[in-house]
């Protein structure tokens, strides 16, 4: 009995540790005093200044557009690559998968400076294009890693069967293989999208002046000290994430394929 309560208290302690800082940020986002320590009354001013902040809205714009573009392009290249790789000789396939693993295993700072060195040496000006390219580079491996297991299961035989029945290779791909691996494609896209939205380090090294995403903006603001607008931004992001996760959970509960917390946990492991 005592043991049970120790366990519960412990878990409660861990969750307090996880949520206390976020709770404090949310509380301060409504605090009219600029100094963080004292409560000086309720206000929504920080939300107002946040929406009028030119830099933050431009950062939000870049964050979203790069996430959408990089996840889409990475999904297209990644799915094609995964299908192609699955039809290759095992040895070649293994070698390619090892190279594909490199951006996953390398610390972000190494990937970031490697790409920066490359872009600068080739003579490309750092900016929107290089940042987008960098995001595609680190997104593709995750798409391949989430599509490849599904391809291994079945699709080669199914595709042959389709072609024996008169389908062209492209028709067989489009009508048989793609529907078969669709869940993998979707989760690959989602992983790529979240990784892109959350990235700081690689963007930091591969972007140029004038183009920054939210993470870079937050970093430079935080370096200059505490800004109440960041609290407001955190609050908004926190509740968007919460709503999104609850939404995904509800949707998957309704769907025939139940995706429970375990599967979610495994997926976020990849992130």
């Amino acid at each position: 009995m005592v043991k049970k309560w120790i366990g519960r208290l412990y878990a409660l302690g861990v969750f307090i540790f996880l949520y206390a800082p976020i709770a404090v940020l949310i509380a301060y986002s409504f605090n009219s005093g600029k100094s963080r320590g004292r409560w000086e009354g309720f206000t929504l001013d920080w939300y107002r200044t946040l929406f009028h902040n030119q830099q933050i809205s431009s950062a939000l714009y870049y964050t979203l557009i790069i996430a959408v573009l990089s996840a889409t392009i990475a999904t297209i290249i990644g799915v094609a690559a995964a299908i192609g790789l699955s039809r290759m000789k095992p040895r070649l396939q293994k070698a390619a998968m090892n190279v594909n693993y490199l951006p996953v295993l390398n610390p972000d700072i190494v990937t970031g400076i490697a790409l920066m060195l490359f872009f600068v040496s080739v003579g490309v000006r750092l900016g929107f294009g290089t940042m987008l390219l960098a995001h595609i580079v680190f997104n593709i491996p995750y798409v391949i890693l989430s599509v490849a297991p599904r391809l291994r299961k079945s699709s080669a035989r199914l595709m042959e069967a389709a072609m024996d029945l008169g389908a062209t290779p492209l028709q067989a791909l489009w009508k048989v293989v793609l529907p078969e691996i669709f869940p993998g494609i979707m989760s690959g896209f989602l992983i790529a999208f979240t990784l892109s939205i959350d990235d700081f380090v690689i963007s930091f090294f591969t972007t140029g002046s004038g183009v920054s995403n939210l993470s870079i903006e937050i970093y430079s603001m935080a370096r200059r000290g505490i800004k109440p607008e960041i609290n407001a931004l955190s609050t908004l992001l926190f509740f968007s994430v919460l709503l999104l996760l609850i939404g995904i959970n509800l949707l998957s509960k309704r769907g025939s394929k139940k995706k429970n917390g375990d599967e979610l946990a495994e997926q976020s492991l990849m992130v």
């Binding site: 094609a80 060195l117 595709m159 937050i218 996760l245 375990d262 946990a265 492991l269």
Partner: protein, 272 residues
């Protein structure tokens, strides 16, 4: 069999261009200076100032990893032992902060630890003197633990959850007490999860420059800061590349050690 392997063609070229060549460029910058092969950049690193930075990075990352393990293992066990509905809820609660922006999570601690932060206000309220909580090693380790704890809990949870319960029952039937079951059954079986948890915490911790920049003191705090400074402030790309190579070696060695415990089991990260 009809060939569809050409579909991978563009990506093979892509990988060569954007993965292999950029990494090779780090190597080239590290060993070639002014047109000749030279180890000067590595020799420069052998100065006490820089070795100290490497030592501090390793030490703080190891400390953070150890704390994550000690804190995270019981938490993972707790979650794995609940009924399904509770378990899913707890997992969700664990994931939500992880989905928040990494910078914001680190920034949150600035508001708690700062001189006018909540903790010092609270101390003042109790009539205690204010403490310097920010800009030191403790703050950096705290930031690491806070950011990377889920990376430890989730793989351990996954292994514990998949574990065959009947093994525990069998051990009990054969006369083992709780401590015995844990030491002889649960812990050994969860080794793959622990190993991948350690890799997943240690790797970002040893290479971070954000946490140390926002919560730590001094310009050359960790090896990540050293690399960042060389590229963005000092403009010494040779030295920066050499330090990056050293960082890569550190990570390869740590992954090599950890992969011995993973034994090809499922888990988050499986090195080559």
């Amino acid at each position: 069999m009809k060939k569809t392997s050409w579909l991978a063609g563009p990506y093979l070229i892509w990988m060569a261009l954007f993965i292999v060549i950029p990494l090779l460029m780090i190597l080239v910058y590290a060993v070639i200076q002014d047109g000749t092969v030279s180890l000067a950049a590595f020799l420069k690193f052998m100065q006490p100032v820089y070795l100290k930075v490497l030592g501090r990075s390793l030490w703080l990352a190891l400390l953070a990893t150890a704390i994550c393990l000690v804190m995270g293992y019981p938490a993972a066990m707790f979650i794995a032992g609940r009924e399904k509905a509770v378990r899913n809820l707890l997992l969700m609660l664990f994931l939500v902060p992880m989905w928040m922006n990494f910078l914001l999570r680190t920034y949150a601690w600035m508001t708690l630890l700062g001189n006018n932060g909540l903790i010092n206000r609270f101390l003042g309220f109790l009539g205690l003197p204010a403490m310097d909580l920010m800009y030191n090693d403790v703050a950096v380790v705290l930031g690491m633990v806070y950011n990377f704890l889920p990376f430890m809990v989730l793989p351990i949870y996954t292994v514990l959850h998949r574990m065959d319960r009947s093994l525990i029952e069998a051990a009990r039937d054969l006369g083992a007490n709780s401590a015995g079951v844990f030491a002889k059954v649960t812990l050994p079986l969860s080794m793959p999860g622990i190993a991948s948890g350690i890799t997943m915490v240690f790797m970002p911790a040893v290479s971070t420059f954000v946490i140390s920049r926002l919560l730590g003191g001094g310009q050359y705090m960790l090896i990540g800061n050293l690399v960042e400074q060389q590229f963005l402030v000092q403009g010494d790309w040779n030295f920066g590349s050499a330090i990056s190579m050293i960082l890569i070696v550190v990570i390869l060695v740590s992954m090599g050690i950890m992969s011995r415990f993973e034994k090809g089991e499922q888990g988050g990260v499986t090195p080559w």
